[in-house]
């Protein structure tokens, strides 16, 4: 049975061999993908599972990136404290912003998330003393890998790695943990209730569910994980810049989620993989990446509204001839 194979685990194990097997460039791309996969998966909890279309998810990514960046560079905290702080601060902001957002429906919800994201962007853009303003904050230090390096060099079979490789492994482990946590959340009774709210918020209300509280909880959780992704990304990017929180970033991650397939758990991660690989390929031929991306998006919206995961599921359904219900639960 295809569904019995622990695909996620296999992919994770394979990902560990990227630095050993590929060049420095491949490690770089893989690291980019890993972080964006978490960012997109966190958005999917809102858009795909709860049915809340946020147009300002980049705000929490940006907040996380700035939190970790400032703590590492200006305060000098170790990574082990600065990384979780990204999730905490982003989660707190999501709690405050979300408190207002979940009171609104549909288009107004999207507009208010956009407004809050633009507020975050404006603060990052102008508050020179803390955020570095328009110039951003370059030279975020890598975490220190002295101890790990000593252990690794003591075991000759492991080979030798650069700091960026160690950072890649760190990201891989942390993102895997985060995605596992999100997977558990989605599969929990709480996660099921989010899906119920997406399908019919009114009925959820009838059976005694406090819809707003559930939505707020989903908003905060999504914010926490977006913040953690941002924290990792700031270090990976060797700098934090205001456009992390700009509204175009929010639409980028929405496109990723849609490309992969909203509502399927691993869809957004696949979207991140495909989109980043495609980007790397295409920018070597042409500078007009947005044109290509826009065209992909149009094709997607008209031909494959379920995204890549949706298309694959449909293909599998045709091959295996299962009933649709079985396919959905088996995926």
């Amino acid at each position: 049975m295809l569904a019995r194979v622990p695909w996620a685990l296999l992919v994770l194990i394979a990902a560990f061999f990227v630095p050993a097997a590929g060049s420095r460039f491949y490690t770089f791309v893989a690291n980019d993908i890993v972080i964006w996969a978490l960012f997109a998966t966190s958005l999917n909890l809102l858009v795909g599972y709860t049915g809340l279309v946020s147009f300002g998810h980049a705000a929490y990514f940006g907040i996380g990136a700035y939190t970790t960046g400032i703590l590492l560079k200006k305060v000098g905290l170790p990574f082990l404290l600065a990384f979780p702080a990204a999730g905490v601060v982003a989660g707190l902001c999501a709690l405050v912003f979300g408190f207002f957002c979940v009171r609104l429906t549909r288009i107004y919800f999207a507009m208010l998330t956009l407004a809050f994201a633009q507020i975050v962007w404006a603060i990052c853009f102008k508050w020179n003393e803390v955020t570095g303003g328009e110039q951003g904050m370059p030279d975020i230090p890598y975490p220190r890998f002295d101890v790990v390096d000593r252990i690794v060099s003591a075991v000759p079979a492991l080979g030798s790695y650069r700091t960026s490789d160690y950072y890649y492994f760190t990201c891989l482990v942390l993102v895997a943990l985060c995605i596992w946590a999100l997977r558990r959340i989605v599969a929990s009774p709480f996660g099921r209730m989010l899906t119920t709210i997406r399908e019919n918020a009114e009925r959820a209300e009838f059976i005694g569910v406090n819809v707003r509280r559930y939505e707020l909880a989903a908003f905060v959780i999504a914010g926490v994980f977006a913040g953690l992704a941002g924290g990792l990304f700031g270090i990976f990017n060797r700098g934090v810049f205001p456009d992390f929180a700009y509204w175009t970033k929010s639409s980028e991650v929405l496109i990723m989620t849609l490309l992969g397939g909203m509502g399927t758990f691993y869809g957004p991660a696949i979207g991140a993989l495909v989109l980043i690989c495609l980007n790397q390929q295409i920018v070597s031929y042409t500078e007009y990446w947005p044109l290509i991306l826009g065209s992909i998006l149009v094709v997607l919206l008209f031909v494959f509204p379920g995204g890549l995961a949706g298309a694959m599921l449909a293909l599998r359904r045709r091959l295996v001839r299962k009933t649709p219900r079985e396919v959905q639960t088996g995926a």
């Binding site: 858009v47 279309v53 147009f55 207002f100 009171r103 609104l104 549909r106 288009i107 107004y108 999207a110 507009m111 208010l112 956009l114 407004a115 809050f116 633009q118 507020i119 404006a122 603060i123 853009f125 102008k126 508050w127 020179n128 509204w247 175009t248 639409s251 929405l254 496109i255 849609l258 007009y288 947005p290 044109l291 991306l293 826009g294 065209s295 998006l297 149009v298 919206l301 008209f302 509204p305």
Partner: protein, 294 residues
Amino acid sequence: MPDLAFVFAQSLSGLTAAMFLFLIASGLSLIFGVLRVLNFAHGTFYMLGAYSAFQIVQWIGLDGGRFWLAALGAALLIAALGGIVERVLFRHLYGKEELYQLLFTYALVLILSDVAKIIWGTQQKSVSRPPELSGAFHVFGATVPHYNLFILLLGPAIALAFWFVLQRTRAGRFIRAAALDRETLGALGVNVDGLYTWVFVLASFLGGLGGALIAPMRATTPGMDTEVIVEAFVVVVIGGLGSFWGTFLGALIYGQVLSFGILFFPRFSIFAVFALMAAVLIIRPWGLLGRPLR
């Protein structure tokens, strides 16, 4: 306390900015009012309007009223583009989820802004002011270019014309009816499909005109589309999505907040604008003059 001339100049510049924003935001608000879609591509239509005006001026020159010809031509071009986009692509998304419609308009932003880059490059383009309006008045020690004054008069004129069309003509009645209940309107025998196309054409015309008229005041650059669309969102949200006078009021407020924000706390004027948007959404999501959606 800053002197009076400065305050006067600031409020005038705020008003001028408001008139442009009104031109752009009214199209956005019209599309939202009738089609219930937020059109991200509206800012791109505005940018293309500016580029088209630049291009037409390059061909025919500025003198003897030709600038106005260029501006009108650019606006008509963008109107046609809007109509085509609606007819060929956008109409197939009407029944689908809101998110798909939003993302489609965003795809248009990506595609059209790159097309503009291919045609006009990344260098900024500027158009001179039309010679008949190149002078300036001096009022209260402030310098007001004739062109700005013209814009100040044109804004309300277009607002009135727009209001007249919406309130007093048959087409306007249909548009208002479609905003309230498109199915009933269709059942009454009105060609709702055609009406939607015309709404798109009209909205794109306003966006393109805004772009064409701003070309002599600000340099046309890539990236002006994503900037202006957020500003236009702020305006329509403050005034009320789909509300016509609300958009006018929203534009006035936005212009003043921005220009006086720069005066009193220069670094946080953008912040103030978005904070205002968030505050309006929290307190009155349907905007100052809008009506709650059913």
